[in-house]
């Protein structure tokens, strides 16, 4: 049954494992997944800890419904204190790892301390062992998974692991599972490397017992049918997230060359479209656990030293990440993507860092003496990508600077120019994606206020682009919201609503792509209430779930305030978004950039809605209302 999933406290220093049941009180306050994880981080992380010290924690959390009878109940949330930002580490991945963790009897693993020698965790039917990983150290993320399966002779073992980037304490290192999925952002792999934790292997035959099996089956069938009726589910099933790339590209909503232009500057963009991928690379699409949408592209590389190797999952974000610094065709993008995956490096963060450094090179702020002889011109992207990726994974040369992410790059290179900070595009130290958000106040606000640093997955208010009538928006958001995506009016309300909603879905453990993230016709609170009732037997009203979202988001804000002193000053988009407009694209896009005065007013409204003070710090009465005033309460 989902409610019997335990919390395991794994102390790698002492070699001790403690298993604790989750009290219903915490379940009702934090639900599970990202919510309970925020609680566990706030309670188990030693305040002010160095992210690379044994005092940091790595928390692995399945959602309350991960593995249960609900559409796309596949997600696993990873967290701790980020070595990149010094604030909360938080990253969510799909695949099959989380469900297997649940089937093995666990919902959260709180990994503390540090081992002296490489280890991996063997989680098997209610038991956890800390095992020697000397033979796995130095192996890539694909080899590691294969070796563990061979060791036990069981192909159904699910493994999450780090690559050599995590071993070498590269801050941009991630934790990965299968050929595709990654807890990519905020440096989860680096935390694991500092603890000498190579992998977590799970195998579960305990299963989950829904409270109402027949109703869970019947209601899920209804939900699947409803999901598959939407246009977006059909488009995702063919093109994956790339289904929006052509539109954003032609609208001038993609940023190239680190945000210097919004028109493709690298020749012919037709070689990067999803249509071209289908023609030349697609081997079909695969799905995550319990998912009817199946958005994972499969491919084999055709050229280069790794020609013939199989990979999964290039996304919209692969096109925008690798494309924005000059890889203008699928073979080059896929090679970059694949290398990042085998080394265990976050593609979004790495590409952000590389394009920032390339602009510094373009402007003469750094030269070949600094880059170790590498020519970092945009036109040279294809040649330098494998070398830069390798240097990053090995934490050597220019790669050792790129691998630190935005704050490391700024601190290393500011001696050459005081403009470095302007060219490195980040919020709270986490690198920004290659999207134009400066024309759209809602997107900008959400990316800047995101508790994990620059990121669209915390709040992306996609509906802002749909030209919905204002009465529809008012009904959804509970207040007046402008239907014009360039307007500031009501956008604070919109962003906050999406932040809370996505926090709830990350607690539930189903896929964000099957929510209002893509379409108002996809599941929301009412559906989640039913999934929860039929699987766990617990009743949650829409209002209660919404309040859980508020609690989780505010607690993440508290973690950031405690650990990094994050406040209002850290909730702004990069300076460039206020100063430079773009030349091309749709009429409303041309020349538009953010207005600081209006942004400030929007930020004031945003804080007020959240119940945070004017400096962006949660107010005492809000903490009281959300039952956060006594945290850390150390119940678990």
């Amino acid at each position: 049954m989902p409610l019997t999933g335990k919390v395991a406290i794994v102390d790698l220093t002492k070699g001790e494992i403690t298993k604790i049941s989750i009290p219903e009180k915490l379940r009702r306050l934090y639900l599970g997944g990202r919510g309970l994880q925020a609680y566990l981080i706030y309670n188990h992380l030693k305040p002010g800890a160095d992210p690379l010290s044994p005092d940091n924690v790595l928390v692995v959390s399945a959602g309350v419904l991960t593995g249960a009878m609900a559409p796309a109940a596949a997600r696993t949330q990873w967290g701790g204190k980020s070595p990149i930002t010094g604030a909360i580490a938080s990253s969510n991945m799909g695949g099959y790892f989380g469900p297997e963790l649940k089937f093995a009897g666990f919902e959260h693993l709180v990994i503390k301390g540090a081992s002296k020698k490489p280890v991996y965790l063997w989680v098997n039917d209610g038991e956890i062992e800390i095992r020697d990983a000397s033979h796995l150290w130095g192996k890539d993320t694909f080899e590691t998974q294969q070796m563990i399966r061979e060791e036990y002779g069981d192909e159904d073992i699910k493994i999450a692991c780090i690559g050599i980037a995590g071993e070498n304490l590269v801050k941009l290192a991630n934790f990965r599972t299968g050929p595709k999925d990654a807890a990519g952002r905020t440096g989860t792999g680096c935390i694991a490397g500092s603890k000498k934790l190579k992998a977590i292997a799970v195998r579960g035959r305990l299963g989950l017992r829904p409270a109402h099996p027949q109703r869970a089956l019947e209601y899920s069938k209804e939900a699947f049918d409803k999901i598959m009726m939407t246009k977006v589910a059909k488009a995702m099933g063919v093109d994956g997230t790339s289904f929006i790339w052509n539109v954003t590209n032609s609208s001038g909503l993609l940023e190239w060359m680190n945000g210097q232009t919004n028109r493709f500057p690298f020749g012919d963009w037709h070689d990067m479209t999803i249509e071209r991928f289908h023609e030349e690379y697609s081997l079909g699409v695969a799905a995550c656990f319990n998912c009817s949408v199946h958005c994972r592209h499969q491919f084999r590389l055709k050229e280069g030293p790794r020609a013939g190797e199989f990979g999964e999952g290039p996304e919209y974000n692969t096109q925008t990440a690798f494309g924005t610094f000059g890889l203008n065709n699928w073979e080059d993008m896929l090679q970059g993507w694949h290398l990042a995956n085998v080394y265990g490096i976050d593609t979004t963060g790495w590409c952000n860092a590389v394009r920032g450094v390339m602009e510094l090179y373009q402007r003469g702020i750094i030269d070949k003496k600094v880059t170790g002889g590498l020519d970092l011109s945009w036109s040279n992207a294809k040649e330098i990508t494998p070398k830069l990726m390798e240097l990053t994974a090995k934490n050597e040369g220019i790669g050792a600077i790129i691998g630190q992410g935005p704050l490391g790059i700024i601190s290393e290179f500011s001696k050459y120019s005081d403009k470095v900070g302007y060219y490195i595009q980040h919020c709270k130290g986490l690198g920004k994606l290659g999207n134009v958000d400066r024309v759209q106040p809602s997107f900008s606000l959400g990316i800047a206020t995101s508790t994990r640093g620059a990121d669209h997955l915390r709040s992306r208010p996609a509906l802002d682009h749909y030209n919905l009538p204002e009465d529809v928006l008012e009904k959804l958001y509970g207040g007046k919201v402008s239907g014009d995506y360039t307007s500031y009016e009501g956008k604070a309300r919109m962003v906050r609503w999406h932040e809370l909603t996505y926090a709830v879905v990350d607690c539930v453990g189903t896929c964000k792509f099957q929510t209002v993230f893509f379409s108002p016709h996809l599941p929301a609170y009412e559906e989640w209430s039913k999934y929860l009732l039929y699987n766990t037997g617990l009743e949650f009203t829409t209002e209660e779930l919404f309040e859980i979202g508020e609690r989780v988001y505010t607690l993440e804000k508290m973690i950031n305030y405690r650990e990094a002193g994050h406040a209002r000053k850290d909730d702004y988009p990069p300076e460039r978004s206020f100063k430079e407009g773009h030349k091309y694209g749709l009429e409303p896009v041309k020349g538009r950039h953010l207005d600081r005065k209006k942004y400030d007013k929007m930020l004031d409204e945003y804080y007020e809605l959240h119940g945070w003070d004017n400096n962006g710090v949660p107010a005492p009465e809000t903490l009281k209302k959300l039952e956060l005033a006594k945290e850390p309460s150390h119940i678990v």
Partner: protein, 161 residues
């Protein structure tokens, strides 16, 4: 006429919903080990194939059962287990050429696909229609059509100027 579950491997996305709903419907638990349909996966080649009972006409499971506990359901045409007679010797499991009979370690007895009483859950939830429940007389039609299309293409290619 008898209906059978057909598998189109190329349409399978590996989502494992078939296993989830099979074990939930038949055993009240989500556990792929207690599912009668089993996904075999080659993760590093991107291949997955669901395997299940073929409801053989000459059924090894029935032939080998020392207690005549396996019988054919007259209405559905599938092989069923009479648990009043079954002694749990597992001979059927060992002799099934497809490994389609497995052991329920919770209930301590063998189990196999019995078509969910005529509305197989795996088929019902299979969004890509990789699994279909069709009349045995037309089960092979899609393959015949594939072959015919290939022939047609070769013919038209050879006739091209």
């Amino acid at each position: 006429m008898q209906k059978v579950i057909t598998v189109d491997y190329e349409k399978c996305t590996g989502c494992r919903l078939c296993e989830t709903v099979c074990s939930l419907y038949n055993e009240g638990v989500i556990n792929s080990e207690l599912s009668r349909i089993k996904m075999i996966r080659w993760e590093w080649d991107g291949l997955q194939i669901p395997t299940l009972c073929q409801q053989c006409d000459v059924a090894a499971c029935m032939a080998v059962c020392p207690k005549d506990a396996i019988y054919r359901d007259k209405e559905l045409g599938c092989m069923k287990i009479d648990y009043r007679k079954c002694i749990g010797c597992k001979l059927c499991m060992h002799y099934c050429p497809f490994g389609a009979i497995s052991y329920n370690f919770e209930k301590k007895r063998v189990m196999k696909c019995e078509l969910c009483g005529g509305d197989p859950m795996c088929v019902k939830f299979c969004e890509t229609k990789a699994l279909q429940y069709v009349d045995v007389s037309v089960a092979a039609l899609p393959k015949k059509r594939d072959l015919a299309e290939k022939v047609l293409m070769e013919v038209s290619a050879s006739e091209a100027p």
